[in-house]
Symmetry: C2
Subunit: 203 residues, 2 copies
């Protein structure tokens, strides 16, 4: 039952409370951080009464965990499922996230929550492992000799760029992409018909 919001019907601030809460959390947790966003403010932004929020989520912890689970489709699948790119290009495409990404929310959550046992921290861990695994898959597809190692290396580069971008307040993904290009070329034994050239990636 309860076929809730399926379109613009829910213009009133009636029935789609849960979705509005999660949508608002996406914005606020990113802009202000998890600890920096109170439930009062979040409920106000979501146009949801506090009582309703606590009927959908047992507590803020559960809300935070659920909030983290709403990133997969866009980021993870969106990059790896592009069949128009070669495996190598797909690996490098993972570093093209300049505009709308203040900081990887998984790292932020792990640091802010400061508790490895927290559901959100555990999910962050799982997610990071999943990304490394998908990178490894693509690396295997690209013909790397040690795909797991390359996947782990590329994952580390992504996290490094995310963290460093946060601290320096400057986009460091180009640097990470340049390193990735070197690693990929070094890990693929002797590709033949590829378009790969040694691109110094100056800019």
């Amino acid at each position: 039952m309860t076929e809730l919001e399926k379109g613009p019907t829910g213009r009133r601030r009636g029935r789609g409370a849960r979705e509005r809460i999660l949508s608002a959390s996406q914005q606020l947790f990113r802009e202000q951080g998890i600890n920096g966003t109170g439930m009062d403010q979040l409920c106000a932004a979501a146009q949801v009464s506090k009582r309703t929020a606590y009927q959908h989520f047992t507590g803020k912890d559960e809300l935070v965990a659920e909030y983290l689970r709403r990133f997969d489709p866009a980021v993870l699948s969106g990059v790896f499922d592009r069949t128009d790119l070669t495996p190598r290009e797909r690996l490098l495409a993972a570093f093209d996230i300049p505009p709308t990404t203040p900081l990887c929310p998984y790292i932020a959550a792990a640091v802010e929550l400061h508790d490895p046992q927290h559901p959100a921290s555990q999910y962050a861990r799982d997610y990071k492992k999943a990304v490394a695994a998908r990178l490894a898959d693509t690396a295997r597809e690209a013909g790397a000799t040690d795909p797991e190692q390359l996947g782990e290396q590329l994952a580390l580069l992504i996290d490094g760029a995310a963290a460093r971008t946060r601290v320096l307040d400057t986009d460091t993904f180009p640097t990470a992409a340049a390193i990735a290009a070197v690693l990929i070329d070094n890990a693929v034994p002797a590709a033949a018909g590829d378009d790969r050239r040694r691109e110094g990636v100056s800019s």
Copy 2:
């Protein structure tokens, strides 16, 4: 009644409250995070009255900033001033920080404070730039063609290992060190006489 460390009576005033506060902050901010450590708890651990703490620091913000400034000597100088190592070895030695480092406190501060204008965030930024600069200096010493680029790349690797170690709760510095070795070998045109092991590097 609190026979605290007296040491040399160099100071004519003061019985070491400030030092105890900063010493306690080193431990607590790392173990519990900055936001997770209250002034009450910190003062109790430092065996300092709260009133005294606020006579030494105008507020928690200032204390946090000062806390961050107490890391340089050991980490930064300790690695780069080792004359017993070749430049290349010194660059790689920056990745040998496995035992006593839960997470780079600069990244943690930047994420937790969530305000680029915060004094501590600004200092974190300066520090990260300084590390990159010293890495670049050493890279130049090692004969890299583009020392600035290599320095920035190595700095990114360190931050990546720190962040990823935090999220995964696993030591990822070996992975970063492996990448560093590849990058260094690729960046130094034709090293001679070194003991560098060529790991699949196709010049």
